[in-house]
Symmetry: C2
Subunit: 266 residues, 2 copies
């Protein structure tokens, strides 16, 4: 069974690129497409509580604009049909603008078991990961929007989504590992103010994360979650254009890269 | 009495700029200078627990390099003498490199009472602030280095330092306000890897912070703390070149800028 799927379309605007953020239009279009496959599945999708089990986003700009559709078990089985129909029709109407679809640039599928096999079971050292936040990303934290890639929020929210999507049980200890061991190695981000029922501060950019002294069984946890993030999206409003990422494990940390213990101030 | 002081010197390297991070050398030089004013004060300064009550940093580069010295009540009274002597001598030896001192670019002093009068007592609306992190900045959080300007860490650490420096009591509620109301409006940062007894990930860049619905008496809290930050520095290792900032209040938030409540995902 297809549990996780992601399709990237090469697209361009028929006329000038619209200025408005089109997350909501994209969301409505994708619900419509799923409904054409299976009205009941679309209704259930719409009414289910919790984070949306899919990601729909416009990434890049001008000559390198892409439409990304991705999702977990409740959406992935429909994406192949949606992709076929979208390529055949050749265009999508979003908020009064035609988006022309040139073709599929990339399509991939996965299962939770394969993510575990590839990332968690093979890691004999803590595996750092790189996450490129391609569209505005934000987390909801203590009543406010947090437009920063705080490791707890990035990977904690992915763990919750992994569970909500029906992924293999990673254990409550996985949350402890993220909270106690996840750290930032590198980061470069900037915020954007997105208009969407009021202004919404979010960030784009990239970051590298690693685990500092995790229990060895979780060495590959960030690698598995980063691979999952390409299907699930990260943070708030993934179904409305937010939190679309590219993510990949990096080579394991050499001992010399270890984070030093914080020393006394002089 | 001078409680808070900051001096910026125009400086340049006699030869090629050294590649090494000179935080430790700068720290040793400043202790020596304070000792020439008052050996006992220097000893007490060195032996006191907690965050160092001063900031010493090299900011900028090439034609616009500056040496910044700043501090609270235990250091501020000596800075005027240190500045005179430094300008007269015209040079500082740091880790085997001569730093030539061209003159004082800016000097200012303040008292905690004045910060409260200017920022906290006059604010009838929540005052946002802009903080430019001029040198590598990092926080120590739950056993790891956090190279992100998380509002809790930025302003929580300033509140602790305000108290450690002997500033007027802002009340325990000030910590609650930071935790519950401080938010990011804008941010642009990138990390640096600083070699200093191992590698140390820190960030530079800038951010705007605001308070969302604070108790009105604390409307100006971020403004007062931002002004204080120019004297105290922000985060870890301020005495060794880290966490030197420029910070200023911005115009109060217009109602239209208010952060919207997080809405349902679609």
């Amino acid at each position: 069974m297809i549990e996780l799927a992601r399709v990237e379309f090469r697209v361009h605007w028929a006329e000038r690129a619209p200025e408005r953020f089109l997350g909501r239009a994209l969301n409505a279009w994708l619900y419509g497409e799923v409904a054409r496959c299976d009205q009941r599945a679309a209704d259930e999708l719409h009414d289910a509580p919790g984070p949306r089990p899919f990601s729909a986003a416009l990434v890049g700009e001008h000559d390198d604009l892409r439409l990304v559709l991705a999702g977990g078990p409740r959406v992935a089985p429909f994406l192949s049909d949606v992709a076929d129909r979208t390529v055949r029709s050749g265009r999508i109407l979003l908020d009064g603008h035609w988006l022309l679809v040139e073709g599929v640039a990339e399509a991939k599928t996965d299962t939770f078991a394969d993510l575990l096999r590839r990332h968690l079971m093979r890691a004999d050292r803590a595996t750092p990961v790189r996450v490129d936040f391609l569209t505005p990303t934000a987390f909801h934290s203590r009543g406010r929007t947090m437009p920063l890639p705080i490791p707890d929020l990035v990977f904690g929210s992915l763990l919750e989504r992994w569970r909500a999507f029906g992924g293999h049980d990673l254990g409550e200890a996985a949350f402890d590992v993220v909270r106690d061991c996840a750290a930032i190695r590198r980061v470069r981000i900037r915020s954007l103010s997105v208009r969407m029922e009021g202004r919404f501060t979010a960030f784009i950019g990239s970051a590298e994360f690693t685990l500092v002294n995790p229990p060895p069984i979780y060495n590959g946890l960030l690698g598995a979650l980063a691979a999952f993030a390409e299907y699930a999206g990260v943070g708030q409003k993934t179904a409305m254009g937010f939190g679309c990422v590219r993510a990949a494990p990096l080579r394991p940390t050499r001992p010399a890269d270890r984070q030093e213990p914080p020393d006394q101030e002089g």
